[in-house]
């Protein structure tokens, strides 16, 4: 806490003179204690700030104090606070451009961008009169301006380059793009990281977040093998004390792995309060199509909210496979009557299924390599391979 505005401003000045980006970031943070200091709520702090600081840093600080002022109103003026924060972000871009071959101010950029996102979210929640996602999109544009400066800083040495700030920004942008359902915008960002020669030297927490989002995107593109790799990396490298983050990762990792044929252990699910997947896994293992559908319907809202509804629905063909595998186990022959499969479907309670559809489902399983064999339409029989009629899912 600072007693007076002058105190605050001279501390900011010291941080700049010491090249202390961390401290400077804290002084610009909306989550620091100084935001409770009423002396800092000034509607027009320009003159005051100019006495201490040079441009463009004075603009950052001025905008920050205006943000504090607008947030202190009753009710808080989120829209105006957001606009000022965006101005701060613009000033940070100019600062970054000025400071060639230096990157000490990256923590300041992180902080300003983070608060920009928080304020954009607050606007989305409290303000009316614009399309949902619009403010977040505008915030993303501001961050992209920062990103461009960072990404273009190719000449500085590896310790001093602003490119080290890319991953932090990208993670911020990911959060926005996932929220406003514009995943295609992630692609160029991922490419920027993949082409980076020192992509291993980003801080671990940032890498965990990055892999989490990249994994989710791969999942969206039906690139499940890659999704499992990225999400597993995120899960194993995320420290145990962040249980809720680990849970978030699992929400995606578990169903993707189920799609590749791994069933989750109950103890793991229990520890992270994800028993919903246990029920799904049981239905899946049993090939109980009806029960599977029921769980999906019961948990619809949870699944939608976590963004895995579609993924879980895609598990359905594995449920079919497991059911049909049981038919094979019962019949113990390599020539299986198609009618038996239909009966199996009806037995588990699927009422609206026909022989034609049964043919199509099995045809699709063969096409995907989940069943080895062929159908004889004339005899209405499925002829399965003598070696591995139902290959392990991992290999398909």
């Amino acid at each position: 806490m600072f007693a007076t505005v002058n105190n605050y401003l001279s501390s900011v000045l010291h941080a700049i003179e010491d090249y202390d980006g961390e401290a400077l970031g804290t002084y610009m943070s909306l989550r620091d204690v100084h935001v409770q200091n009423h002396n800092l709520y000034i509607a027009q702090p320009e003159k005051l700030v100019e006495r201490f600081l040079k441009p463009p840093l004075d603009e950052v600080v001025t905008a920050h104090m205006k943000v504090l002022y607008h947030l202190a109103q009753n009710p808080p003026d989120y829209m105006e606070a957001y606009n000022q924060q965006a101005a701060a972000c613009g000033a940070v871009v100019r600062l970054l451009q000025q400071l060639k071959d230096e990157n000490w101010c990256l923590p300041l950029m992180y902080r300003v961008c983070l608060d920009l996102r928080y304020l954009a979210q607050a606007c989305e929640k409290h303000c009316r009169g614009f399309t949902p996602g619009h403010i977040l999109e505008k915030a993303a544009d501001c961050m992209m301006a920062c990103f461009r400066v960072c990404a273009a800083d190719g000449r500085a040495s590896e310790e001093d380059t602003k490119r080290l700030g890319m991953m932090n920004l990208i993670n911020q942008l990911f959060k926005i793009y996932f929220r406003i359902n514009k995943l295609h915008l992630c692609k160029p960002l991922i490419r920027a990281i993949e082409n980076c020669t020192f992509k291993e030297s980003f801080p671990l927490p940032e890498q965990v977040t990055y892999k989490y989002f990249v994994g989710r995107r791969a999942m969206f593109d039906s690139n499940y093998q890659a999704a499992v790799e990225d999400l597993s990396y995120a899960f194993t490298h995320c420290p145990d004390r962040f249980a809720s983050n680990k849970r978030l990762i699992l929400i995606y990792l578990v169903p993707v792995k189920m799609l590749l044929g791994y069933l989750p252990r109950k103890t793991l699910l229990q520890r992270y309060d994800l028993l919903l997947f246990h029920d799904l896994a049981l239905a899946l293992k049993a090939g109980n199509v009806k029960r599977f559908d029921e769980i999906v319907r019961e948990q619809e809202l949870v699944l939608i909210r976590s963004g895995i509804y579609l993924l879980v629905e895609k598990l359905k063909f594995i449920v079919y496979r497991n059911l049909f595998k049981k038919v094979f186990a019962i019949r113990q022959t390599h020539q299986l009557d198609m009618g038996d499969f239909l009966s199996a479907l009806q037995f588990v309670g699927v009422t609206d299924v026909s022989l034609d559809e049964t043919h199509c489902i099995i045809a699709n399983l063969i096409y995907e390599g989940k069943i080895k064999g062929y159908i004889s339409h004339a005899h209405n029989k499925l002829v399965v391979s003598k070696q591995i009629p139902f290959p392990p899912l991992l290999s398909t």
Partner: protein, 348 residues
Amino acid sequence: MAQIRGSCETLCPDTESKMRIRENLLHFYELKNGQKKTPGILVKEFTRSAADVKMPKAKDMRTETSLTKTVEYLLKDIILDTRKPYHVAYDFIFDRLRAVRREIVIQVYDARQTIPLLEPIVIFLAYSRYRLCEESIEKFDPKICNQHLQECLTGVLRCYDELEEQVAPTDLTIRQLERRCLIESLYQIFNLGSPESFVRALSLPDYVKKDPIFNLSFGICLAYHQGNLYRVLMGLPRLPHILCAVASTKLQAIRRSLLQIFTHAYNNKQLTVPVPYLLRLLLIDRPDSLQEQCRHYNLSLAVDRKAVHFNKTDFNNAVDPIRPRHETFVESKLAKVYLPELLLLKKF
């Protein structure tokens, strides 16, 4: 910048009419009874914004009522004009509706004003996409049509979202709600297989989700994502006219996927699959259409032409799907509706 409000009460502002009559720049549909040089009803042309063009004045912009009249005139009168083939009318209407869209943007209309203007444009583009799908590329470019359709669709959806922020669904008329359900369904069907549109479907308000037409469309998309093409194909003919028409532009690609799946599943040198079964599943009504499919993808027919041999190595993976065409089950649905009513969303 001050918002401009149009003051022109006709379909075409005076300045433009005078200029185009003077310069002899009238379209066929703007001439009276096809007589040369006698002007009939003019409709404002689409022009791009450019650096050397001045900001349009209020009298060069139409009022909301006259924009509505323009849309109605184009989709009621011109659409039924049979003197020229449909693609000529399409070009004309497309251009004039684009001018309407531009005015919506320049006059910064809010969601409530934009929706009733954009909805018919969406339906018109969707209908034309189907109606002209057999035309050659010189007469109709499906890609451009798709692009504009997608643009208009996302535009209307954005308006729905905006309006939802402002008013509760109970304050809207049943008609407005129904129209939204239809457009939302159209968006789903048009974007069959896209995860983005699917995510949207999941987050829609309850009244849309519970709408039977939307439900059916959503079910088709879900089945498509699951890989259950049987359900997709069986669902298509149950869709109402315009949705059915849009869906049928995707049909050839779906048929191809199913045939490809079958080449793996029924892959055998001796065995065959009977034609009636394939006709039923592929929604094909004539055996010669099936033969065409077989030729196209290099599948062989049995000697008696009553069955098809499937062989996965023979299947021609390299060829594109057959071009979309008019399907009997769509035609019979469209034959039952009065076109202007369909396009202006008066009846569905």
